[in-house]
Structures are given as C-alpha cells and as structure tokens.
Amino acid sequence: MSIEVIKAGIADSVQDEGRFGFQHLGINPNGAMDLNAMKIANALVGNKLNQAVIEMSFPASVFRFTKATIMALSGADFSAKLNGKNIPLNQPVRVASGSELKFTKVMSGAWCYLAVQGGFEIEGWLGSKSTNTKAKAGGYEGRFLKKGDVLSFNRETDCTETRVFPWRANVLQYYMPWSVKTKNMKALPSQTFRCIQGNEFDWLTKKSKQDFLKQPVAISRQSDRMGYRLTGTPMKQTKRQELLSTGVSFGTVQLLPNGELIALMADHQTTGGYPRMAHIIAADRSRLVQCRPNERVSFSFVSVQEAEDLLLIQERSLRQLQEACKFKLREIEP
C-alpha cells in the first residue's frame, strides 16, 4: 500500500495547506507553494482539499507504485509518463500496482502536485503534515524525498489496469487574472500580479513608485520555497529608515538594501525587517509561484475588499470541483 521513490528529485517534499498557530514561536507555516494545484489534485481523487500531497519541482523524483491507487497530478506540466505513456494533468488516473511514474521535461510551470486517493500515511507535526526542512520536522522525516523512501497510502484500491478517467478539472480560472468587476477572465495582461499596497510603499521616491507599477521585473534564478528574488530597475528610498521586524506573509514583497525586491514564499520567515512594498493577493499567487526564472512580472494595486472577493471565488470553485469529483467517482465505483 505504498509508493516508492526509485530516483530522487531535487526538492520534492510532502506538503499540505500549512502549519498555523505557531508563528509566535518563530515556526513558519510552510505548506504547498501552489495551494490551488494541491487542492485540485486532492479534489480529483475524492480527498479532503487539505490532504497531504507530494510537491515536486524539476527534475522530479521517479516513483514506483507498489500498490494500486487512484492518483491525480496538477500544477506544473513536467510531461509526466506512467509506464512510458503520457498522462494528462488535472485528470484522475487509476494506477495498477508496479507502475512507474516519471517526469521527462518542463513544459510549463515550476511546481507539480501528486495526490493519491485517501492520501499518504504521514504523521503530523503541530497539526500539519507539511515539511519544515529547517526544523527537520513534519512531512516525510522533515526532509526532501530521497531514493528508497516509501510512502504508504491511507487507503487501498483494487485495480489491475491503468486507466485515465474521462473527466478533467478546468483550472484556467486559477491561473488567469479574473476580474470581479468586469466578470472578465483576462482583465489584465497575464504577467500582471495584483497586490495590496504595503505599509512602507510611500518610502519610495516618486520615480521608484512609478517604476514599481510600470516597469516589469524578472524572476531571478535565486528563487526557492523561501522567496522569489525579483531583478529590474533598482528601487530607491527617499531616505534610509530603520524598520523593526514585524510579522510577514506569503506574498509579501520586501525591498532589499540593494534596491532589489523579494517576494516571500511558503517557507518565509515569520517576521521580517525590510520595508514592505506590497502583498501579492492570494488569488494571483498560484499564477506567480508557477513562473519560472527570467519570466517577467509586474504589479498593480487593488483594495483588500477586491482581494477578498477574488479569493472567495477561487475557494467556491474548489468546493464545487470537490463535490463534482465526488459525484463522478461514486458513479464509477459505488
């Protein structure tokens, strides 16, 4: 009742929605980079949305299923092959025991998620199954997956042949700048990311304020689960001011002393002392984390109310998807 890692990827880990309630102790939330993709993969196999999944970046691990299951992939397209045959993203797949899953090349995106029906048997730490590699706790032994790791399934499924199920989740809305006002899917150019203005945005010079909203920045190669570095026209402050550390969030865009920007990601520290220019809204975060190095991004400001509304639309769609998938799965195996 398990899956085995027969070749390790570079940074594959077990993640869920994240660990909350301990940030006052310096214990950061972790969790999936692309929370929507994690939830979509879970919905497709009939799981609760917060079930732990395997998060992969490229090169990803090669896996062997030692027991049958129903699995789904979502997020980045790494050209997945099951027993040598292409399998689609965002579609449930029945997998026979002995099958081999590998990922051959990057077609798009940065983070891919693997969910299995019933989830993986992982012991939680502080209420979450997410991996905290710094604390060496949570997830699978508090570390990235390596060769020989065996992850058991919570549930057993009987099946002898591999089969792709004939339905697919429509994921476009999670990766498009959907607008609440115009009900338009592509209200903004696709590289624009909406933000709530940060408390120290006014520390910038007039020119830098304009640049922040007009000049695109590029995602640097120095980007990981802690943060994406953004390079472009260096930002200038009207005067050097000291800032005391304060709580920060996934999506907070900080101004570094050299004028570069960094967008904080899932493994961000709980507090930060750099000026906060903006906070990228949750509804645009899946699209952002899936950007690859050298891709260019730009920012625009929205109100907190609009950010809330956009998040709610996604949450509602995820719940609808979850219900629809449960219904479909029951049809196939009552």
Binding site: H24, A137, S245, S249, T271
Partner: protein, 253 residues
Amino acid sequence: MKALSIYPASENALTVCLGDKMDAAINDRVFILFQYLQRHPNPFWKDLIPAYCTLTIVYDVDSIRKHHPSACAWLRNEVERALYECEENETLPVRKLHIPVCYDSEFGLDLKSLAKTNKLSVDQVIELHTQQTYRVYMLGFLPGFAYMGIVNNKISAPRLSAPRKHVPAGSVGIAGNQTGIYPLDSPGGWNIIGRTPLQLFTPMISVNTDHGSDKNSEGTPVLLQPGDEVTFFPITKEAFDSFDVQNFNLLST
C-alpha cells in the same frame, strides 16, 4: 490602549502598530494585547505574531466572509474592541528564566574581537552580558529564535559583514543591542560570544493532534516564549560538558 495604526499585511493579515522603537513599555503593550487575544481565542484567526511594537493577526477570510461582508473590516472592529478591553485585563505573571552560558573561547567565536572593538577585556564583556535582565521581545528568523534586549551599549556590536555559513545550535550572539540564542544549526551573522547546553528547540516534544494543538507554553517545542524575562549565568567548559539538562531548573527563583 490606542494603536498608532492598523494596516493590512495581506488580504488575510492585519498588523496593529503600537509604537515605533525597541522599547520595553511598547513591547509590554504588544504583549498585553497578545495575551488578551490568546485568552479570548477566536476560531477565525490562524496566527498571532507579536513583534517589537506590532502584533500581526493572520485570519481565515473564507470563514469570516460566511458571516460578514468584509473580513478585514470585521477584524479591524474586533481588534479595536480588544485594544479597548485588554487594558482592564489582568496580565499573567512573567516567566523568569535562568540560562547557563559557557563563554569559553571554543564557543565564543567572536568574544575576543567584540571585546577588542569595544575596548574591554573578555571578562568585562561576560560580566556586562550576565549583569542584565533581558526581555524576549519577539521570536522569529528560526523556530524558537528569541530576540532579546536591550544589550548594554558597551557590548553592542553590528552584525558580521560576512555571515557564517554554519553557526552551531545553542550559540549565544549579539547583534546591535539585541542578544539571542541559535536554536538550530544555521547560517548566521550575529557575533557569537558563547554557547548554552540547553536545547531551545525540541521538535518532537509536542503532542500531535489533527486540528491545531496546544497553544499554551507547555507542550510546545520552543523553550523561550514572547514576554519571558531572561538572565544568563556563566559556566565553565567542564560544567558545560557534564551539564545535566534533564534536572536543570530553568525557572529562576
């Protein structure tokens, strides 16, 4: 209690700013609000992050919006009410902790250079570091990393210009007017002056539950908590090597 400002730190986080400097009186107010909110828990907030002069509340937008038209506006109201009510509230007694530190040259990698730059002897640095009672202003950077202050000006020192790639767990450091202890092996730029045999972060101490867990100070994997008062006392290398962590009473009397 009046806030200087209350501002969003994301669509699911609100920061209450109660001052603008490292100051015990300001941090006291942060702590009073933090304690008040901890004792009046609300299912809608997911995290409370106290810092030097701010408290950030991370909340669940989806759940609040089932009952209120704006999560942010609702939370702002709640915070304003808490600010008003928390002053009436009795504060819990502050924990006083007594932490052994070995200032041996094997551990105090920057002790000599810090003494030299500040025109002091190594013994004077140790004396000044152990003389003071420090307050845990906040935790951050690493699980269990406590920012403590305020360090005597005579032994304050800027961060190293090139951070070390590896600072061992238990290392006691100084950065500016702050002192802290590395709970884990980690890269770091603080001036290391000694090491404690105590374990500041013990991941497996806590009981796992499926829905959040014990948020009180007991049963958490972290030794130092926001609001604690800490003093250091010097121990020899021999005492460090044979230190009995199990039977050590951390709470000073």
